[in-house]
Symmetry: C2
Subunit: 349 residues, 2 copies
Amino acid sequence: MTSYRLAVVAGDGIGPEVVAEGLKCLAAATEGTGITFETTEFDLGAKRWHATGETLTDADLEAIKGHDVILLGAIGDPTVPSGVLERGLLLKLRFELDQYVNLRPSRLYPGEVSPLSDPGDIDFVVVREGTEGPYVGNGGALRVDTPHEIATEVSVNTRHGVERVVRYAFDVASKRERKHVTLVHKHNVLVHAGHLWRRTVEAVAPEFPGVTWDYLHVDAATIKLVTAPASFDVIVTDNLFGDILTDEAAAISGGIGLAASGNVNPDKTGPSMFEPVHGSAPDIAGQQKADPSATVLSVAMMLDFLGHAELAAKVEAAVADDAAAKVAEGWGPRTTVEVGDALAARIRG
Amino acid sequence: MTSYRLAVVAGDGIGPEVVAEGLKCLAAATEGTGITFETTEFDLGAKRWHATGETLTDADLEAIKGHDVILLGAIGDPTVPSGVLERGLLLKLRFELDQYVNLRPSRLYPGEVSPLSDPGDIDFVVVREGTEGPYVGNGGALRVDTPHEIATEVSVNTRHGVERVVRYAFDVASKRERKHVTLVHKHNVLVHAGHLWRRTVEAVAPEFPGVTWDYLHVDAATIKLVTAPASFDVIVTDNLFGDILTDEAAAISGGIGLAASGNVNPDKTGPSMFEPVHGSAPDIAGQQKADPSATVLSVAMMLDFLGHAELAAKVEAAVADDAAAKVAEGWGPRTTVEVGDALAARIRG
Ligand SMILES: CC(C)[C@H](C(=O)O)[C@@H](O)C(=O)O
Ligand SMILES: CC(C)[C@H](C(=O)O)[C@@H](O)C(=O)O
């Protein structure tokens, strides 16, 4: 018997719908294994903010810290000023829990359709830094809404912060077949941050003699993701570049409906958090139109993180098989629950 | 008889090869029109830096200011520390000459091949801000190359700087068929700069009652460029986002070999500069392998900027026809000079 404490933050928009299916598949995967998840639901997001003005209180944070892992649906709502929930809740969780590795795999499952006519065998992972860069919230504005307004955003990068995520990326690469890391930055323009990243990779690489590495400017990376995505193995990059590249990566490999992610604190000084890359999609919320596959794949990443690689593989295979069958058999639209039920049935075998 | 003073900065890598073909096509286009270009070649780039340690001196800058327009090939060389030429020469020109509009059209010419299986009718233009944002060079590093290193990059955005480029973008849109502007930023994370951009668009939009607009986060924009690129008309965005998106845009619409750009100072307080979006490609420099089409299209943009829309159209048509013929007839590789000769012949008609 192993029991985990799971914090559930369903959040906004389609969050609750996809999280329900994620939990359904988690139950299916652990059935009869002796592994159980004790869940606590956290009422966070737009509804809570409207009711109380709160995004994430110290008490919420303390309660969440008492858990082993977090499953998050989506954060963001058009009725709340842009940035309030993103910065005050989602990014606050990532930063306060020191989730410095934002792990985002991209795989084109056999049978899945890419918008590229010749995508090749896409199978790479982006290791996005999660606690620094332009995301630190270190900026401000002067003379707001006058002709003399000036607004700044400061990207803060430390050797400590860069080194730990670079080492993680090389470690991930060392366990993969191709063992290759691509550093993506823009060191010809952002010379201070860019050269810090470059020097750090140069310093860490010798610790992994079996791993090769190269460098690509972020603008060139967006080209290669379209012209030769199969050539990537592991990409390591800064918080903002990672945000941008992983959406493009999702688009070329089966779509954002299949993009999963883990916000990982490898040192386990706080719980790690698993979430689909897609947003809250308020336009289709509550309509059972959302694809829960990305959330189910995030559950697989969570199981893998907890050391249950076999269960993770079973869940991932269910999603891959379902996606392939959908395309091969030309299925029409299904409800969120229907997809979740189908995935849970496949997981049970 | 109209005579223009043209500053030529061939620069590094493939720059000199593609610029030679650009000038050849310019000569072909103006032949017998009474329009002449008096060119001054500027020895700027890696060779000059190695010889003198100079990137762009005050005297160079003053001399360049005495010209009507600039044609630039490419800047950047692996033998020079990254950033030295980019910041000290290319960006210095854009900033010092107040080229605040970086205009980058994307068109999938009929017959050209996109890596997308269903690209649709791609025809949009990115209006990238050219003198602010994370490109200002406002950052630094402390305790460099120690475990305590910290590096910052400051994005500086002003109402003045944003408003003028936003107004330009709406003006461009007002002259196009679909009359639609998409603001791209990341205002849910970069709240200070993002909200400045959003408020500025809200303030400027009423000046153009015929133009509609919407907003897209930069990460979502990378998806839409792959899944629905034909839906874009005019994109207005910040310096760094524009850098990233225009490379992706080039990749999906015929490739970087066809991507032209203008660094425009609409107020004409300094010369505007036209350059291909591709870089110096040192790996193929001097081998006559580079495609000069993007430079020739940049020449077309220059002619258009100077008020010679008909000549510009002629040059653009030559490139479009050549690209279509190349695909239709399955031509093998041609040398840089061969492509330039073919284009010049088409321009002469
Ligand atoms: C919602 C937003 C704050 C978030 C981010 O920018 O990190 C999202 O785009 C993501 O990629 O998880
Ligand atoms: C070479 C580099 C400084 C430049 C930029 O980042 O603007 C290039 O990528 C471009 O897009 O013109």
